[in-house]
């Protein structure tokens, strides 16, 4: 890769205290390690796709990078600036450079604010525009995300899901960030609208040279937008590779299973669907050894998998996998 990394994450850990039983009585349950030592880097202008199933910790990673939740350990830098160490005004200034787009375009817009007010608020907070200037900037933003400026006077309930998501993107862009965390930005949208929003995100990235962390559960969507992909399972990255390599030949059995489980819109595709047994274990009590071992379909699985947790290691240059058998993928 030729670009220097804009975002670097090293050894990120986030623990959540276990809930107490009913009414706060009884002993607290075990701590949940939602994110357990996650590291990656994203080069400027590139997209890292972060994929995994519910509860794997992918959204927590996105939020911790923006300090929307406080990480317990680890180093996060944005263009060299230490994100974890900053406080107060300095943190606010840094936040201007990194923004987030949420999954739910219904819940993430204030229903009492017009589109104009929603988009002008960040400009006022960061003192980026005078009131008169703000109006002009909002018009330009709406046009950039493909909305008629007449939508400025509309309230969220008057917009469709796709239009709301465009407003969410415009709000993130209003402060001219370098880095966007896109947390399942198209999951709530219909297929035809999803394609529109994905195209918009690709166009904006090219035009503004944005860097994306694209969090999603849909591997087909990620394939379409990501340069690199990281797969998470129970709070850890189990595989990380350039998208081309990962989709052509996954090295971790979890990635292989995930890929095989995605339904393909072609009735003639005779695919070997690997149906994983059981469900994701609770992150409060992860299995010993390799966290994936109880569900792992790899034919070579042995006692070592049940006792010794595999480290994420470079299997071939640029390709990382946390599996004892990464050299002999399924």
């Amino acid at each position: 890769m030729t670009h220097a990394p804009l975002v670097q994450v090293e050894g990120l850990v986030k623990r959540f205290p276990g809930e107490r039983a009913l009414f706060g009585l009884g002993r607290a349950r075990r701590t949940v390690r939602a994110v357990d030592g996650v590291s990656f880097a994203i080069a400027a202008g590139q997209t890292l796709g972060l994929v995994g199933e519910s509860g794997c910790g992918k959204s927590t990673v996105g939020r911790a990078i923006l300090r929307l939740i406080e990480p317990d350990a680890g180093r996060i830098t944005l263009g060299g600036a230490d994100v974890v160490a900053l406080r107060g005004r300095e943190l606010r200034a840094l936040r201007r450079r990194m923004q987030i787009v949420f999954q739910d375009p219904y819940g993430s817009l204030n229903p009492r604010m017009t589109v104009q007010q929603t988009l002008a608020e960040p400009l006022a907070i960061h003192r980026l525009a005078t009131a008169a200037d703000a109006k002009r900037r909002v018009t330009a933003l709406l046009e950039e995300v493909g909305l008629d400026p007449a939508f400025g006077t509309a309230y969220p309930h008057e917009l469709s899901g796709g239009q709301r998501q465009r407003v969410g993107i415009a709000r993130a862009l209003s402060v001219e960030p370098q880095f966007l965390v896109l947390d399942e930005p198209v999951s709530a949208l219909d297929v035809s609208v999803q394609a529109q929003v994905l195209n918009l995100l690709a166009d904006l990235q090219r035009k503004r040279r944005l860097t994306y962390l694209f969090i999603a559960h849909d591997l087909a969507v990620v394939k379409h937008i990501a340069d690199d992909v990281a797969v998470m399972y129970l709070g850890k990255i189990v595989e990380r590779a350039p998208a081309t390599a990962l989709y052509a030949g996954p090295r971790h059995p979890y990635t292989t299973s995930l890929l095989s489980a995605v339904p393909v819109p072609d009735p003639k595709a005779q695919r070997q669907r690997i149906v994983l047994e059981g469900e994701v274990p609770s992150p409060a009590a992860p299995p010993a050894g390799c966290p994936f071992n109880p569900r792992c379909p790899h034919p070579k699985k042995n006692d070592r998998c049940r006792t010794e947790p595999p480290a994420l290691r470079e299997v071939v240059p640029g390709r990382f996998a946390a599996c004892h058998f990464a050299e002999q993928p399924m």
Partner: protein, 342 residues
């Protein structure tokens, strides 16, 4: 050909909107058949009328604000469901026709054990004793692949994961061996590995029990993998209907074509996909104001003046047997226009 198990003809389900802003014609003249033992996929995006269609079959539409228009006809096992007396209807619901919903969290009752809820239908419809019904519930839990069924039968829904709850829903639906299972987005709320488990389970149970399945989904991948025939809905109407392989090989309605092209796919090389996705411009219109003429014409790349004025009927695709592949599009009368556009 065998007689259809379910015959829906010119179904119209309308809703009167609150602010008096008119009538929402959610389902507006839908016709299709379901044959014994087959899987019919019903696809479409939000607001196309696919869920209202399935609720209308079981007469679960709240009245008011909804009502099924006179002239609609739903025949199941030789009887018109729309004219059945409530008592007769109850003998069909949950017994001959069962339904599973998208939300396994909210469609189970949190204050009863799952065993109680599964057994209920067997007690009501088959007049089993409590004890016998409980034994049947345990059998059903085994059938849907729940480990430790003897213990799980006494668990409450909150003690189970989303995938397990969906298995419970399926056990509940199948306890009376229905002839038809209506599955409305049965895996939408689930993770992809759990979705694969549930789809396998439904496939297996269908083969073992010989029932017909009406599978309602927005996911063309699921339809491709599970359905024998597909009905594509748009704006309250059926716009295309064909056997699954035929539909994916030769989509003839511009909406079907656009929908297939806009799905990000896993089975193409990365170098091919890193470009722009095809997208259908605009959005689904509101049910209170469907466009005149063809309802898809404002978003259609091929549309010409006829499309804005005259509503196309379902036309047979050329070359096929009548009724196998039907398409609601004027292009079928002027195929040259599609080629000239390309």
């Amino acid at each position: 050909m065998t007689e259809p198990l379910l015959r829906v003809r010119d179904l119209k389900t309308y809703f009167v909107t609150e602010q008096g802003s008119g009538t929402a014609r959610a389902v507006d003249g839908v016709s299709f058949d379901v044959y014994p033992g087959e899987t019919l996929g019903v696809v479409g995006e939000s607001g196309c009328g696919k869920t209202v269609t399935s609720l209308s079959i079981l007469r679960l539409i709240p009245e008011p604000p909804g009502h099924i228009r006179p002239g609609s006809f739903i025949e199941f096992e030789g009887r018109n469901l729309l004219t059945l007396a409530p008592k007769e209807l109850r003998a069909v619901r949950g017994n001959r026709i069962a339904m599973i919903f998208q939300e396994p969290m909210t469609s189970l009752n949190p204050v009863f054990t799952v065993g109680h809820q599964i057994a209920e239908a067997a007690i009501v419809h088959q007049r089993l004793s409590r004890k016998a019904a409980r034994a049947r519930a345990i059998e059903m839990l085994t059938l849907v692949g729940i480990p430790d069924p003897g213990e799980r039968v006494d668990h409450y829904p909150h003690q189970m994961s989303g995938g397990m709850r969906q298995r419970v829903m399926i056990a509940m639906a199948l306890i009376c061996h229905p002839q038809l299972l209506i599955a409305d987005e049965p895996t939408t709320a689930l993770d992809v590995t759990i979705q694969a488990q549930i789809l396998e389970l439904l496939d297996r149970l269908q083969r073992e029990l010989g029932m017909a399945v009406m599978l309602i989904t927005h996911d063309l991948g699921i339809v491709a993998g599970s359905a024998d025939r597909v009905v594509v809905m748009y704006a309250g109407q059926v716009v295309e209907q064909a056997p699954t392989t035929e539909l994916f090989a030769r989509p003839l309605h511009p909406y079907t074509e656009g929908l297939l092209a806009s799905v990000p796919r896993l089975d193409t090389r990365v170098s091919q996909v890193r470009g722009r996705l095809h997208s259908i411009p605009g959005q689904v219109p509101a049910a209170t104001a469907w466009p005149a003429g063809c309802r898809f014409h404002p978003r259609c790349p091929y549309a010409w003046d006829r499309c804005a004025m005259e509503e196309p009927p379902l036309l047979d695709s050329p070359g096929g047997e009548a009724g196998t592949h039907t398409v609601r599009c004027w292009l079928l009368t002027e195929p040259g226009r599609r080629e000239r556009h390309a």
